[in-house]
């Protein structure tokens, strides 16, 4: 498109462009929601309906599968453990990760490349292979079967996200902004808390969401490192794939819901910060 046509865009094309825009937003929403809706249908269907063909596109509101899980011993404890572990993971990964993200974005220092590589390596190596030495270490130190111990492992998984996301966002904030604050009498710390931190909050929220979700959905370490203090995912998901179809769906649904509620709860912090960011 050239500038001339852009300027001369008629009201008509503008309007059709608007429709196209709305249609694509609607399509993308549907693309995300429809598969979840199928999960909902199968969750709220009787075993017969789950296996039938053709499938109905309206749920029949049969709660028997959900009731089965409601009668499952230890669900609530497992749910509580999951939330505790996920929250600990969230807090730890940000407290430990964000300073490193800031360092990467603001300083040139020898060993920086090596450090970044270390961060990435963490994410590129499969955890189930590391689980054995970790578990031995945890059993020997007494961290085994504690929410804190599991949160440490989950934090390891979440840290690359925390560091890299905060790094990319700090890089997006001009250093001049901080320097201006210093000249106005701020120390490095107060400049950071008064000027940079408010800007970075959406990014912090983004990495918090990642940390929470990573911890929530992690099965393997949870299955190996917790026995009495199982997380919900370890409790449900590891046996899900061998379970009958209708329970597979119901179990999958039960796992998805708390994560969705969490994202819903923090979305405000993630996206409502727009006003501040758009100074």
């Amino acid at each position: 498109m050239t500038d001339a046509t852009a300027v001369g865009m008629s009201a008509d094309t503008r309007k059709s462009g608007r429709y196209l825009y709305i249609a694509s937003v609607a399509f993308l929403c549907a693309w995300v929601i429809v598969p979840i809706y199928f999960l909902l249908i199968n969750t709220l269907s009787s075993p017969e309906a789950v296996n039938s063909f053709p499938k109905s596109f309206v749920p029949e509101f049969d709660f028997s599968s959900l009731q089965f899980f409601a009668g499952f011993e230890g669900m609530l404890t497992a749910l509580k453990n999951s939330v505790i572990v996920a929250l600990m993971t969230m807090v730890m990964s940000i407290i430990i990760g964000a300073p490193a993200g800031y360092a990467l974005s603001r300083f040139e220092f020898p060993g920086k490349g090596l450090f970044r590589l270390l961060i990435l390596l963490t994410r590129a190596f499969p955890l189930p292979l590391l689980a054995l030495p970790l578990a031995v270490m945890f059993i020997q130190t007494g961290l085994d079967d504690t929410a804190f111990g599991l949160a440490l492992v989950h934090t390891t998984l979440a840290i690359p996200f925390a560091v890299l996301i905060t790094f990319s966002l700090f890089s997006g904030i001009p250093i001049e902004l901080e320097e201006a604050a210093w000249t106005l009498g701020c120390t490095r710390l107060t400049a950071f808390t008064k000027v940079v931190l408010p800007l970075i909050l959406p990014g912090i929220t983004a990495s918090a969401i990642f940390a929470f979700v990573i911890s929530w959905n992690e099965v393997f370490a949870a299955a190996v490192l917790t026995i009495e203090n199982r997380t919900l995912t370890a409790f449900l998901l590891q046996n899900l794939d061998t379970s009958p179809l209708h329970l597979k769906f119901a179990g999958g649904f039960i796992l998805v819901v708390p994560a969705l509620i969490f994202i819903f709860a923090v979305r405000k912090y993630l996206f409502a910060m727009w006003g501040i960011a758009n100074r």
Binding site: F38, F115, L130, L134, N217, A259
Partner: protein, 284 residues
Amino acid sequence: MLLNARILPYVLILPVTLFLCLFFIYPFVLVSQQAFGSSEGGWSLDNFREVVDYWKFPISLKNTLLLAAAVVPIQLALALLMATMVSKMEKGRDMVLYIWTIPLGISDLAAGIIWLAIFEQSGFLNSMLNGMGVIDKPVNFLTYQNPWIVFVAIALAEIWRATAIMLVILVAGIGLIPKEYYEAADVFGASKWKQFTRITFPMLRPSLQTALVLRVILAFEIFAVVAALGGTLFPVLMGETYAYQFDLLNSGAAAAMALIILAISIGFTLIILRILRVPKGASI
């Protein structure tokens, strides 16, 4: 104040480094030793030779790379499109963004279950086609005769599941671009496309880099969705790694596979970092 600028970065990265040394480097070194060990003791490349010589290795390598090559660019384009769409939105931005980030909360195992329910013979896709009268009896999509449909199904499920990761990073990045740039561009009559290529894209480079690197690394670790939809038809590197570790109880070979995946990930990461080099202080 600037005196401590030499020490400060190290102070800031110290917690992460200590943490990762304890919970990642230590077990990682132990596992890597297995990869380079052999039954007779001492150092050897036997494990690497074994896994690379296995007839499925080239197939799973090809599948993994092909899938990443097909999925990641689409996800990038889609995430960029979605992020720019949201940034212009006046009403309902919260809600739309929330909906688009829903897949974040869904584990790959659950995503596999959901998409299998769509593509299987008596699944939702067949039900839909049947209801519209396109077909009179269910089509078998996921079979060894239709490797391309299997591939497309896996790719669709991955795009559905993992685009949100990039979206969130990009949205947070776009939020940092000062509005004045666009206002100025409007004054000069720059088209939306021009605004995108001249303002959004360059300003977004750090976020783009992060999003791509993370996504590509995760793409090489793809497993659960592939196992659910592709069954045994679509071997991938990570699936072979788990097979060595848990079916064959051959930790040395599994560790060797994992190191190969690691090497590929690092290779691609360096390429991405180079291409999307951020002008100041971010090169590796």
